[in-house]
Symmetry: C2
Subunit: 409 residues, 2 copies
């Protein structure tokens, strides 16, 4: 964490040009929570009437800010809202003082912006178990409030980074009922990424108008197919937070059944989820794992995650080794139904194995050449039913070890 990390080879060429979202303003500051000489706090303010939905880690050792958000998320209000996020300290496993720190920060934001405290959501990301120096944040709230600006979202994406090597953003603009609707999202995350979300913070903003229950249902459902379908290292953060704010400022009302908005939102979420994988700690390969023909969708997901989390599969990918035997191993150990002799395995379009053995036309040279690509797909058909699942992961490299063996030093 001390040293600057090289930007991931899988990083997008540039941070996207995110549109301003009517009704949302951002500010960032250098609070010195842990990092020096960089922004580490971001504040977002939303206008009155904004609807907020959220999805959070299911960890049994959730951080104080996550517990606080979960208490507040269902409360309705016609007031504005705010989100305050710091990097450098996760305020997780910090006992009673952690609860007090969260309260101190959200109360300071509420006071500065004239909001009820229940409308101020907070996240903290960084080291677990160290006391949160919340005074470093609260002394910056007035400065943040004074600097709020509609075009500050790219700075916000940078302020929330920890071991991330690039800021993550995605956007969409769509016309609904003849009027433009915008979505802009930012995310952070590169390690401790696994189902039940990750050390992943995601904030998505739209100027659409949508009922809270509808937004929450849409967000929860899409989350399963995006952020909950990526894994870097099988570890699950205590701090994962996905918040979405709909300001309604566009005047376009989205009904629960609006598939157009839903698909566009899905695209933004998937883009951000993929960017988290592309910034996986030490990652050099982006891998899509498709499982089809499983006895059920949940079986397919178990197999897909077993492949995507297997250290032996992930090190083989790092070594550009088409070691499909390890895919067989991961299927075998997953606990979900499989019949060795009905498996079909493909690397990209290359048929590697079928009928319980290597495919007759398969050559190691073809497999080896394929594995040299940066973007890989592994497809397993189980030949048992119609269950299917797709998850995304990265390889396991020396970079992951280097980053995590001296994280706190």
């Amino acid at each position: 964490m001390g040293k600057a990390l090289a930007v991931s080879p899988l990083a997008p060429a540039a941070f996207p040009a995110l549109p301003e979202i009517d009704g949302v303003e951002f500010a960032t500051a250098k609070a010195g929570v842990k990092y020096k000489d960089r922004t580490d706090v971001m504040l977002a303010r939303m206008i009155s009437g904004t609807v907020i939905a959220g999805v959070f880690t299911r960890s049994a050792t959730r951080s104080a800010p996550v517990l606080d958000c979960q208490e507040k998320i269902g409360l309705e209000s016609d007031k504005g809202a705010a989100i305050i996020v710091n990097s450098g300290n996760s305020n997780a496993f910090t006992g009673r003082s952690g609860v007090e720190a969260t309260h101190a920060v959200t109360a300071a934001v509420a006071g500065a912006l004239g909001l009820p405290e229940r409308r101020v959501f907070s996240s903290s990301t960084g080291v677990i178990g160290e006391p949160m120096p919340h005074a470093r944040i609260t002394t910056k709230i007035e400065e943040l409030a004074a600097n709020l600006s509609p075009n500050g979202i790219s700075d916000a994406a940078r302020a929330i980074m920890t071991t991330d090597t690039f800021p993550k953003g995605a956007m969409a603009e769509v016309e609904i009922a003849g009027k433009p609707v915008k979505i802009a999202g930012i995310a952070k995350g590169s390690g401790m990424i696994a189902p039940d979300m990750a050390t992943m913070l995601v904030y998505i903003f739209t100027d659409a108008e949508i009922a809270r229950a509808d937004l929450q249902a849409m967000l929860s459902d899409l989350n399963e197919r995006t952020f909950n379908s990526i894994t870097v290292d099988s570890d699950t953060s205590t701090s994962d937070t996905l918040l979405m704010a709909a300001t309604g400022a566009s005047g376009v009302t989205i009904s629960a059944g609006n598939t157009e908005f839903r698909e566009v939102l899905h695209g933004v979420m998937l883009d951000l989820a993929h960017q988290v994988v592309r910034d996986g700690e030490g990652a050099t390969k982006f891998v899509e794992v498709n499982v089809t023909g499983a006895a059920s969708d949940s079986d397919a997901r178990i197999h897909a995650m077993s492949i995507a989390n297997s250290p032996l599969v992930k090190t083989a990918i790092a070594g550009e080794d088409p070691n499909w035997g390890r895919v067989v191993m991961a299927i075998g150990k997953s606990g979900a139904a499989a019949d060795r002799d009905k498996l079909t395995i493909r690397f990209g379009d290359i048929l590697v194995a079928e009928n319980g053995w290597v495919a007759p036309g398969y050559s190691e040279d073809d497999g080896g050449a394929y594995m040299k690509q940066q973007y890989l797909s592994i497809t397993v058909d189980l030949g048992l039913g119609s269950g299917a699942s797709t998850v995304w992961t990265c390889d396991l490299t020396h970079g992951y070890i280097s980053i995590n063996a001296d994280y706190r030093s």
Copy 2:
């Protein structure tokens, strides 16, 4: 696999002096299955009346030899028995030809030793999915049969090694009803080690006389607390095999309730299991994870394995970083019951965290000094009930990546 690996820093000082077991003979040969210029096949022959029990991987993609052993293991016979093992090729996911290869090898042994084929057990360990060149083994059977010797067990331990950096053996001698009884065991394994056993082959021999059902029950039960309680990388092999042969040649009959023999056997199995962890691929630290105070024993095991398999915990240990926050994370993600504010965490005897936060007397200097040791213990008390579990693992280092990213090259 191509290059010689440095011996694990956690290796025992020397291979133990294993006693000859009355009624068992060993031979080894250089068959060139994959490796050149080293032994890669071992044969063990047991006298008439020998009882065989076994435990096997639960992988859904089990290898042909494992399936063959499982078919044979329950069959009684007053004939002798044999075990034939090769390294270099696992004969797993090799379709119909794999079944034929297993049959060819066991039939050749049966013919050479005058045994029914159902009394010949085989194991294969090495790369998955490559055709087994079984003729290289069958042409060596006569040579193996001619060289059988009561004192060949240490050579056998060497012949079954793959990425192992040292041969693994353990023994015990105990007096029961005034007569000596001996146990000698060998094992191989260093990667793909996880619950449901591992790429682990274990062969234990005793001159005790014991009914097959009693031996099987004892072996299965002790297996849960030894080989099934270690993990190197959370990956589960398609080939795991634990076979135990009781020749009865000592004339000492062991009843099902004999706790003395059971405890001695437990010690041998635990010793071998620990040696597998001490040879974990790239391991520099041996870690015991104790979980107490869980709602149930099975909850305790889930927590213990979640800690022991967490890449972030294991990389922190590699970096000698007392990063107890990652232990909190692993508890939180495991899915078993936990209450953040009732957790107690200890590194060795050092109280690190309690009551939902770092312990008042804990200092990072103490934690850091402790982590420099080679043998570490992490103890978590959940404060919920009386469930307990102990598992053993190693750290996750650059060595693991190096070994597994170019295993086949």
